[in-house]
Symmetry: C2
Subunit: 390 residues, 2 copies
């Protein structure tokens, strides 16, 4: 398989050597963002279990865990296998379970000694644990998924099914490790008050479910919550044992619109080159289209629509009101933000620019590696591979 940069004889030494489009990762911003949430988790008295679906990189994981592997969250079993191969042993697979996934996860545990905690919300999924246990000889460890805000899957904390599912998990010979919620609707918020309220709602729903389970004889040691917005706005986490978040490592324009970060916190961007100009229309064409930026339009419903991304100069300084207004596969069209009456800066063919992401998880997924930079320095410090697939 041909991948980005593999046609160059030696790794790029500076930004100028990179083939564009290329994904840049600012190590100093990454480290600062990771430190910020680690400090919060410590202050709130909970374990931080980073979600590695955003970074999908052992090198990024090593920044989060400088002293060796810690507890992590993943979104695919391929991620679980990748991080297990790098020594991670405490892994929560935070996507609802299919019978085939249960078998594959337990086979990974049998092979590596890792504990992969599984997520489910129905009696049928609990029953399927028996076959996975029998096939692999591993006792599955299970979290019941809760629904705190009508976002996606999970049981409401007062759903009578909660106790039935818990009993069926135990009856299948598995261990009920606890409960898990994700306040996914917090991505749609934009004021501190609303975010504090969403975090408190996530906390209360999860603690309530754990109490119900304990009252019926299920110890429920893990009480897990998290989304990047609520993780940063929770005022207290009484009754919670662990916090999960993923995009906080990189941040993005959606999180900026929610109010969780500043533009200066955004750690990834796509380096691109000007390949055309249409001065009569005020357009600049660049070689970053949706293949490099992703099709994500997550800011479309926010107060400030950033198109397919906000444009910076090559060093990372924002070119105010210049956005990627349209994107085809390998073309982006830069325009001045609609309604702002100012001229497009002069950006001749060959000029290099950076594009900040609407959604970091989606932009990063379009690339096979990170070119690691720091601040405005031109050097490429390292090339960190990303894993992908399922």
């Amino acid at each position: 398989m041909t991948t980005a940069q593999d046609t160059t004889a030696s790794p790029a030494a500076t930004r100028a050597d990179l083939i564009t489009p290329a994904l840049l990762l600012d190590r100093s911003k990454l480290t600062r963002n990771i430190q910020r949430l680690a400090d919060r988790a410590r202050a709130l008295g909970v374990v931080l279990r980073p979600h590695l679906k955003t970074a999908k990189s052992i090198d990024v994981a090593r920044i989060a865990f400088p002293d060796g592997p810690g507890p992590i969250t993943v979104s695919t079993l391929a991620e679980a296998e990748y991080f297990a191969a790098h020594g991670y042993r405490d892994i929560t697979y935070a996507v609802g379970l299919s019978p085939a996934a249960a078998q594959r996860a337990m086979a990974l545990c049998a092979r590596t000694g890792a504990e992969v905690k599984l997520l489910l919300d129905s009696p049928g999924q609990a029953d399927a644990l028996r076959a996975a246990r029998e096939a692999t000889g591993v006792v599955p460890s299970v979290l019941i998924e809760l629904d705190c805000d009508d976002h996606r899957g999970g049981l409401k904390p007062d759903d009578p099914l909660l106790l039935e599912v818990a009993d069926r998990v135990v009856a299948a010979g598995a261990t009920l490790a606890g409960v898990l919620a994700h306040a996914g609707e917090s991505y749609g918020l934009s004021t501190p008050d609303a975010l504090v309220k969403a975090a408190e709602n996530e906390r209360q729903a999860t603690v309530q479910a754990a109490k119900t389970l304990r009252a019926h004889g299920h110890p429920c040691p893990i009480v897990s919550i998290g989304s990047t917005p609520t993780a940063h706005f929770a005022e207290n986490l009484d009754g919670i044992t662990e916090l999960r978040a993923g995009v906080y490592m990189f941040f993005d324009l959606v999180q900026h619109g929610v109010g969780v970060c500043t533009l200066d916190d955004l750690a990834i961007s796509v380096l691109t080159t000007v390949i055309g100009t249409k001065p009569e229309k005020g357009w600049i064409l660049v070689d970053a289209g949706w293949m490099a930026l992703s099709r994500d339009r997550g800011t479309a419903n926010q107060r400030v629509d950033q198109g397919y991304g906000l444009v910076c100069d090559e060093s990372g300084h924002v070119l105010e009101d210049v956005i990627v207004a349209e994107a085809s596969q390998e073309h982006g069209i830069l325009k001045i933000r609609s309604g702002v009456g100012k001229p497009m800066p002069d950006l001749p063919i060959g000029t290099r620019l950076r594009i900040l992401p609407n959604h970091a998880c989606a932009m990063a997924a379009q690339h096979d590696s990170y070119a690691v930079v720091e601040g405005t320095a031109p050097e490429i410090l390292a090339q960190w591979p990303r894993m992908r697939g399922w």
Copy 2:
């Protein structure tokens, strides 16, 4: 890098063995779609130069060229390098040129003997050809990009710059091979009359530019047009020498909405597994989110909005009015199409389904390989890798 399926000891023999989500490609539909446009090009008396940005696969290219490498179009120089390594020698790089790309393309030509035709629309880009020629010793072959519908880059056929650019190409020591247009706005149409008109407009604009150039002593042997909709609706191609199209090999829901294909023509889909049910809301959760389907919402502005994709049973029969209404990274939420008053079919956890793409280029780009199937048969006939990167 960990990729889809690489954790299985042996390749999947049947659909049931595939880890989901997985990208399926129906070889019989692919072959039929390829044959259809090849027959049209022959009847219209033009060369077909398929755009391989959609498939990015040598195995797919071999279906289009059973007798050995033919003329192709690519959207990245990584594609040019990949197909040149597989023996392709006549390659049009249909994205506007940066100085760095000119050097890299000419280095490929010097290395392999391939001819990579370059695209440009400005005097500055023409001037940059001189350095590429001097660095590599290869005479660049150049197409001038035309703008026939205000879609993206290119010069209007009556722009005085057309002759200046042509003269500057020659002055830089390059060969002017011809002109190229792409009626990209045809994707927004939906009636045969409008498509016929767009095709004729694309033809006229391109022929006009070629005439102007010839009247000024530039031979302009290549007169190239193409987009999947106009390629299928052009009634005559007098004065045109070649036709380009890419998504026609796979087709998708956007092309179906435009009116270029039937649902039965769609050759790719994502195989997915039910991982949750919310009967009280009429929701089914599957393990195909935007990571597997892409974020493309290309049908959002069409008459029928297909959400993130239309749902079929495991054999490929459409489940009428069931769409992926919402998508997060690894979750899709199936709902009955808004406004249609019928119940969700019973799809228990573990059920396998297929999702048809809004945009085939975008869905396929999320995967590392195609699991090749034929019709409703359960067998996996082959696993074809895809290339990616820039």
